[in-house]
């Protein structure tokens, strides 16, 4: 590819990378390990995230073992229980969901969907992955450190996070904070890349308002992350200083086990503000890429343009902006000034409006469509159901006074698992079934996929829907044992056992998925370049899987938006974004592209 010839249709956009300028790998090591190719980095991110995600899955099994069958195994005591829930939560939110959506899907799809050759800063992109891997390794190291990992709860509230009454005070919390700091450094390197690539390296003709919603979701989520993670960074650094050097950023005067500690004057609630200033946007850092991806899955597999594209874009932007002014709805009963409740309840419920618009538009895209119930489509529909359910229970918790009895009960656990656990993970699965053919050139097995889908979707719903009612009853979260609670009837134990059994089954169903990923790599049916007959650019690459540089000698030129499905008068039911005329047999010519 050294003799690059560029397309004559349009000049390169400013900042676009010429193929000859790319650093092409010279050895196996630089091609597959220290790779600067965003696609390889995407696969590295995804595999690491899924590996650590499997750890989190096993942890959740152990949590459910204790909750469903208290005392059945002797190796889970209260100390271990709190370590399990803490590590499960932190891994899932940060090291799996954030890394997989942005590092995985972001790296793979941004250059390909925008018609770029690679990320704008490939070397920094490579560093981003290796620092992420280091962060994961530091996290894993805490399992083997003296005292074990921290059991402070994933929210890491001081003072307890760094005091001796909490498991993992010796090493666990220190490694946890260090790992978070590393993760944020690594993420920032990737995040800068995603934003700059979207702004600078789009193919000719790819205006912002022609971008697929997947890219809008990832782009906006990355901006949120770049603005929100620094708050967590600051919190982590300060808490680390409190723990190691005895400063008192978050530590007031404390009597611990009868002894006065040498802390004083700090504010525990300040940490909570910093944490949730990050923590709430984090929800949308996970949700917005899922919103974007699911829009494209629904549109492609319903053979219909996404309904209300412009509204969808503005909804993403509005949700992103509003997500920065709702954080204290996690703190209604934190002891902050109660008058904050009026403001944060209002902003929180207002955010439901753009979110509802998105749900309506997904559903209206199905209306009068040509619905193919492929695996990606099944996962997309399952996402709509679970996200709708989780979003609506958010209206309970966001409405300050309703939150008062429900906060920190199993209702909250059920809500956030449904809305930011189950729903985004269903999108991740849908996305993998959708793009695996492009990544590998082969289809995933349909029958294994069906098994995986039905077990995961129905199982997850059966786990988390009934759980809300335990919280309504008053069953608190983060309780190692609810033995002795007078209001918890024996039927609560029955329900807990049922939930645990279903959770074991759902976890086991993931084996079918992993086997499918490995098996189809060699034995899957050949996919061809565009098996779903999709419009977006990643399906129009000259080769599948696309090589380094993606496009061969000439960058694609974009003539239309990403959703020209079933256009009246067109020969086929889809028109690729880089096709100038609606009739594919016509030679490319100057055509006024519809907006």
């Amino acid at each position: 590819m050294a003799d690059a010839q560029f397309g004559s249709a349009a000049p390169l956009p400013q900042g676009g990378i010429d193929d000859v300028e790319l650093y092409h790998p010279h050895s196996w090591l630089t091609k597959y390990v220290f790779s600067q190719d965003a696609k390889i980095i995407a696969i590295q991110y995804s595999m690491t995230a899924m590996a650590i995600g499997l750890v989190a899955l096993v942890l959740s099994w152990l949590v459910r073992l204790q909750l469903g069958f208290p005392g059945l195994v002797s190796f889970i005591g209260p100390k271990e229980y709190y370590q399990l829930i803490t590590m499960h939560g932190m891994i899932m939110v940060i090291y799996l969901l954030t890394a997989l959506f942005l590092g995985g899907f972001g790296n793979y799809l941004i250059p390909l969907m925008l018609g770029a050759r690679d990320m704008v800063f490939p070397y920094v992109n490579m560093l981003s992955y290796w620092i992420y891997l280091l962060a994961v390794l530091v996290l894993v190291a805490s399992f083997f450190a003296p005292g074990g990992p921290t059991g402070a709860g994933w929210t890491l509230y001081p003072p307890q996070a760094i005091l001796s009454g909490t498991p993992g005070q010796e090493w666990g919390i220190v490694l946890m904070l260090l790992s978070l700091i590393l993760f944020i450094i690594g993420f920032t390197m990737g995040g800068v890349n995603y934003v700059v690539t979207v702004l600078q390296a789009r193919a000719p003709g790819m205006t912002l308002m022609r971008m697929p919603l997947t890219i809008w979701g990832i782009f906006t989520a990355t901006i949120l992350a770049l603005l929100a993670f620094p708050a967590l960074f600051v919190g982590a650094v300060m808490m680390l200083l409190d723990r190691l050097l005895g400063t008192s950023f978050f530590m007031p005067a404390i009597i611990e086990a009868g002894q006065r500690l040498r802390y004083g004057g700090g504010s525990p609630i300040l940490f909570q503000h910093l944490f949730w200033f990050f923590g709430h946007p984090e929800v949308y850092i996970v949700a917005l890429p899922a919103f974007g991806i699911v829009s494209d899955l629904i549109s492609t597999h319903a053979r219909k343009n996404i309904f209300g594209y412009r509204m969808m874009v503005w909804a993403i932007v509005a949700i992103g902006a509003l997500s920065f002014v709702v954080w204290a709805h996690h703190m209604y009963v934190s002891g902050m000034n109660p008058y904050f409740g009026f403001f944060f309840a209002t902003t929180t419920l207002v955010i439901a409006i753009p979110t509802a618009i998105k749900v309506y538009n997904w559903v209206l895209t199905l209306w009068r469509g040509d619905i193919h119930l492929t695996l990606p489509m099944l996962f997309a529909i399952a996402f709509i159901v679970t996200f709708l359910n989780g979003g609506l229970t958010g209206l309970f918790l966001g409405n300050v006074v309703v939150d008062v009895p429900l906060s920190d009960t199993m209702f909250v656990v059920a809500h956030f698992h449904m809305v930011m656990g189950v729903a985004p993970i269903l999108v991740i699965f849908g996305g993998i079934y959708h793009w695996y053919p492009k990544v590998t050139g082969r289809m995933l097995d349909e029958r294994l996929g069906q098994l995986h889908f039905w077990a995961t979707f129905l199982g997850a719903y059966a786990i988390f829907f009934p759980m809300h009612y335990l919280g309504l009853m008053g069953v608190p979260r983060r309780y190692f044992d609810i033995e002795g609670l007078s209001f918890a009837t024996p039927s609560v134990a029955t329900l807990n056992a049922f939930v645990s059994v279903v959770a074991f089954l759902v976890g086991a169903a993931q084996i079918a998925f992993l086997f499918n990923l490995a098996h189809s790599l060699r034995h899957g049916a050949p996919a061809g370049g565009n098996p779903w007959r999709a419009t977006t650019l990643e399906w129009q690459t000259p080769q599948t899987p696309p090589p380094h540089g993606n496009w061969g000698p000439a960058l694609p030129v974009v003539y239309r938006w990403a959703y020209d499905y079933s256009v009246p008068g067109a020969a086929q039911d889809f028109i690729p974004q880089n096709q100038p005329d609606i009739r594919p047999d016509r030679s490319p010519g100057p055509v006024a592209a519809p907006a």
Binding site: I255, A257, I353, R368, V404, L472
Partner: protein, 277 residues
């Protein structure tokens, strides 16, 4: 798939109506909270059922068949406008009662009597005002084996305060303002039957209020993770009539006469976790 979605919608409603898991009978004035919750159930339940059934309908009606082609309709401003408007209306219908009740939650009635709950890993202690009707000064500097709550021994108002190291008793029908104090980490005082709860932050005093409306004995839980024995940090609140309450009150000791402090303090220093019941 469509059939499954219909079953999910109807099954969820059936579960909601038939399941044995529901809130505990209320024992405070916060019936308004329950009402707001019910309104929320109605509105969200309606939206959930409607949308899931609509999706199910689409899956049947517009499923792929040979020769079928999707419609081409990028936008429909009118429809989008209507849906936005209706959603805003629904949100307002949730928010208005919510904020109305919150306005009561944040305004403590003038006649509320003050009590104090002091949390520490992993037990509860309580303080009631003495004969002077007010709680005296306290500071964490004063905490010792003999003075686990850190009351100011120089303050006359503190010396007559009642220090309670067992179940908390409350008189029926009188509003209480609960002041919350922690000597170590963040805790939360939660009695499900009262609905109200609040975090307890070391270094500051937080509060909430309620009026007990039903006699009985209720479990109090710590509801903010506070370390290894968080799940075992439980207490008990007894709500009783005026006569029973007065006789209980007479049996309580003042801070000045608090004899059990030493033994209790030493127990705490050894960090004996309370027994799990």
């Amino acid at each position: 798939m469509a059939l499954v979605l219909v079953l999910i919608a109807l099954g969820s409603i059936a579960f909601h109506l038939l399941s044995p898991w529901w809130w505990t009978p209320i024992a405070s004035n916060w019936g308004y909270i329950d009402s707001t919750l019910i309104i929320t159930f109605w509105i969200t339940g309606f939206v959930f059922t409607a949308i899931v059934l609509f999706v199910a309908y689409c899956l049947v009606r517009f499923r792929h068949a040979p020769g079928r082609r999707a419609a081409y309709e990028p936008e429909n401003r009118r429809l989008e406008g209507w849906l936005t408007g209706l959603t805003a209306l629904g949100v307002a219908a949730l928010l208005a009662p919510g904020l109305f009740v919150w306005n009561q939650f944040v305004r403590v009635p003038q006649n509320a009597s003050e009590i104090e709950i002091v949390a520490q890993q992993w037990r509860w202690a309580y303080r009631l005002p003495g004969a002077d009707g007010r709680l005296g000064a306290s500071d964490i500097r004063h905490v010792s084996d003999e003075n686990p709550l850190g009351l100011d021994p120089q303050d006359a108002a503190a010396r007559d305060d009642l220090v309670i190291d067992a179940d908390l008793h409350l008189p029926l029908g009188r509003p209480v303002k609960v002041l919350l104090r922690s000597t170590d980490v963040v805790h939360n005082f939660y009695v499900p039957e009262f609905r109200a709860k609040m975090d307890i932050i070391p270094g500051m005093v937080t509060y909430f209020w309620f009026t007990p409306t039903r006699t009985g004995t209720f479990d109090a839980l710590c509801n903010e993770v506070c370390g290894t024995n968080h799940y075992a940090m439980r207490g008990r609140v007894v709500v009783e009539g005026e006569a029973a309450y007065s006789s209980w009150l007479r049996e309580q000791t003042t801070f000045a006469n608090f004899a059990g402090g030493g033994e209790r303090g030493r127990r705490v220093a050894r960090r004996e976790a309370p027994p799990v019941r």
